[in-house]
């Protein structure tokens, strides 16, 4: 890998750094990667992602790739999907996996946590109705388990149903026999993963890059 010659950071990096919390070096590195993946174009498309062999062997790659084109991950009120993304959107999505910083107040930490969980929730709530329905849940289970015959569809289905039941019992408590559980809302999701150590488990650690430097 080459040395990153310390050229004066372009002003866009400054804005990006403030928006996403990455340092200049990290942004430069990711920019290089962006150019590599997009073959030197300005935008990334879905098929660019499909060219990564490591990603191709991941069972939920479709959801991961979709997350990059989902406008809900770009800003708080975004809706719908796009066909191509620029470097800024790429960075914004990546910032959900920013490594945890030492100097953060408890409130900031809580916000970061919520953001990460929101990202994961959006990944599975594919029809954007605010809940992860049984269908969507089943889809996830099927994707993760093998389709090649080692596991029958029925078994996968029953595993999904059982897991969903568990979720319902945790979120809603006791349900009447004819009550219908709509699906996991974001609040239920938060409750479900209340004790979960998401900060450390859901971040990417960059090598040799220390404290996050923000521009003055």
């Amino acid at each position: 890998m080459g040395t990153l010659q310390s050229s004066p950071a372009p002003t866009e990096y400054c804005d990006l750094s403030e928006k996403t919390g990455f340092s200049f070096e990290q942004i430069a590195v990711l920019h290089k990667r962006f150019k590599q993946l997009s073959h030197d174009e300005d935008v990334l498309r879905r098929d660019h992602f499909s060219e990564i062999p490591d990603l191709a062997s991941n069972p939920i790659r479709a959801e991961i790739i979709e997350a990059f084109f989902d406008q809900r991950n770009f800003s708080k009120n975004g809706k719908g999907k796009v066909e191509e993304i620029g470097f800024e959107e790429f960075l914004v999505v990546m910032s959900h996996f920013r490594p945890p910083s030492q100097h953060m107040t408890n409130e900031q930490r809580e916000n970061v946590r919520k953001e990460k969980l929101r990202f994961l929730f959006n990944m599975h709530d594919t029809d954007n109705d605010g809940t992860i329905t049984l269908e969507e849940y089943r889809h996830v289970v099927e994707e993760l388990l093998s389709r090649s015959g080692a596991l029958e569809k029925e078994t996968a289905k029953s595993i999904a149903d059982a897991a969903m039941l568990e979720v319902a019992s945790i979120s809603v408590g006791h349900m009447e026999p004819d009550e219908f559980y709509e699906g996991i809302t974001f609040d239920h999701f938060l409750k479900l993963l209340a004790g979960f150590e998401i900060d450390s488990k859901m971040s990417i650690h960059f090598l040799n890059m220390d404290t996050i430097t923000l521009c003055k």
Binding site: P53, D54, L55, I64, L144, I159, A163, K201
Partner: protein, 458 residues
């Protein structure tokens, strides 16, 4: 075949004392051409290349020092050469999932599946988007420090002296060296066609054989001079012999010139039209090469049979094959296709490693056409590479072709200091097969269902 002077690599070399200096070289003119060509043909040097390389090495060292000094005040980030951008947790899937679940109690009913399992896969997915082993092999290697070529730097002003040297470098490379080199290569190729056709008229006898070798090696030597190539051969006692197959890692079409400078090989390849076709037809007149029609390439049995026949004929030259099937950027060795390893002949592995400081030899065929690639080669500083001949290898009892191929690949990677990868070079153009995805799924499902067998309620 004449004396090839020991190579200059990164260390000052005592000049051979001949009076010809670098400074007196002008742009293309007849006497100068002959000065380079004739020694090239006979395999010895007048000291021009050594002088040039000397100056070049000293200049690059000076440039590196300057750049480092200029950057000394800033906090520089030096990503380690081996790893890449991110730190990966390389623990197995089982361990990671266990950790993920530790915070949650095991559900009393239903499968051992929890939503948090997805997080592991999500993180792995994002990690591979940020950095993966394979995609980076299909673009040129990044240099540790600038080598005064425009193409390897986003130009940054360091000092007036540097800029002057850089400008002088451009002038020298494009106006002096490039025309000279192009002429040399043209002469070399023309001579190859004429020479081999002429030799082809002789009846089959030892003289013809010797002449044919001489013509081939001579032409490749001229071409090598045309690229200012400095090649260092190691372990020449292991050179491939007749009736064997020589395998090497592939970086560019120039590999052929590099290897053929030191011996004669039979080529394998597809019949082309145009200029390449003329060269191919001429070459085959003087000694047998193995050229396939496009339709024949698809028939694997036919290919194997022809190669076997060639190999079994002990008078024919060793075959040269690049089992990766495509050009890789010389930082790693990718999967070897097993076809050549099924023939049962002796394999002579060869490792080729280029020094990227003097010029990037990798042919990125999706970015550059053959012609623009050759022009880039001719406007680099020089081509410096090391060639190691490894001891012959045979397929062992009970070893299948794939394992044999991997064994050879590891030996080559180890010698050349390259990374040994299992991935297929064909991924440059094709997509990964679905079988890989299914493997991961199977692994995960066996984890879930395996635990499930006792507690699942249907």
């Amino acid at each position: 075949m004449g004396v090839f002077t020991p190579c200059v690599l990164l260390s000052p070399h005592s000049q051979t004392g001949h009076g010809v200096k670098f400074g007196t070289k002008h742009a293309v003119s007849e006497p100068q051409d002959r000065l380079i060509m004739i020694p090239a043909m006979f395999g010895f040097s007048l000291g021009i290349s050594e002088t040039y390389m000397n100056i070049l090495v000293r200049t690059l060292e000076w440039a590196t020092l300057n750049i480092q000094q200029a950057n000394a005040e800033e906090e520089k980030v030096n990503a380690s050469a081996s790893n890449g951008l991110i730190q990966r947790e390389n623990r197995s899937m089982e361990k990671e999932l266990e950790e993920l679940r530790r915070s949650r109690p095991k559900p009393p009913v239903g499968g051992d599946f929890t939503f948090s399992d997805c997080f592991y896969f999500t993180r792995r997915g994002i990690e591979s988007i940020v950095d993966d082993e394979v995609t980076q092999r299909f673009t040129s290697e990044e240099l540790v420090s600038w080598n005064l070529l425009t193409r390897t730097n986003d130009f940054q002003y360091i000092s007036l002296k540097m800029t002057l040297v850089y400008g002088l470098g451009i002038f020298v490379r494009y106006c002096i060296l490039a025309p000279l080199r192009i002429t040399l290569v043209c002469i070399g190729l023309t001579w190859l066609v004429i020479g081999t056709s002429a030799v082809g008229f002789l009846p089959n006898c030892r003289v013809k054989f010797w002449l044919s070798e001489w013509v081939h090696v001579m032409c490749y030597r001229i071409c090598a001079r045309g690229l200012s190539a400095t090649i260092c051969y190691h372990n020449r006692e292991n050179k491939p012999k007749k009736g064997g197959i020589c395998v090497a890692n592939h970086t560019s079409p120039i590999d052929i010139v590099i290897l053929c400078n030191d011996g004669c090989y039979a080529m394998v390849g597809q019949v082309h039209g145009g200029l390449m076709g003329i060269v191919q037809r001429a070459m085959v007149r003087s000694c047998p090469h193995v050229w396939f029609e496009r339709s024949e390439m698809k028939d694997r049995h036919l290919v194997t049979k022809r190669l076997k026949d060639h190999v079994n004929d002990k008078t024919k030259l060793p075959i040269l094959i690049f089992p990766e099937g495509t050009c890789i950027n010389n930082t790693s060795v990718m999967m070897f296709k097993k076809g050549s390893f099924e023939i049962g002949a002796t394999i002579y592995p060869v490792a080729i490693k280029y020094d990227p400081k003097f010029g990037d030899a990798f042919w990125n065929s999706s970015k550059y056409s053959m012609v623009s690639y050759l022009l880039r080669m001719m406007t680099s500083w020089a081509l410096v590479c090391n060639v190691w001949y490894l001891p012959a290898m045979h397929q062992q009892e009970g070893e299948d072709a794939v394992n044999f191929a991997n064994r050879v690949k590891s030996a080559i990677a180890h010698q050349g200091g390259l990374v040994d990868l299992q991935w297929d070079g064909g991924l440059k153009r094709a997509k990964v097969k679905d079988t890989f995805k299914e493997q991961q799924q199977k692994k995960y499902s066996s984890m879930v269902v395996g635990d499930d067998s006792s507690s699942n309620s249907d």
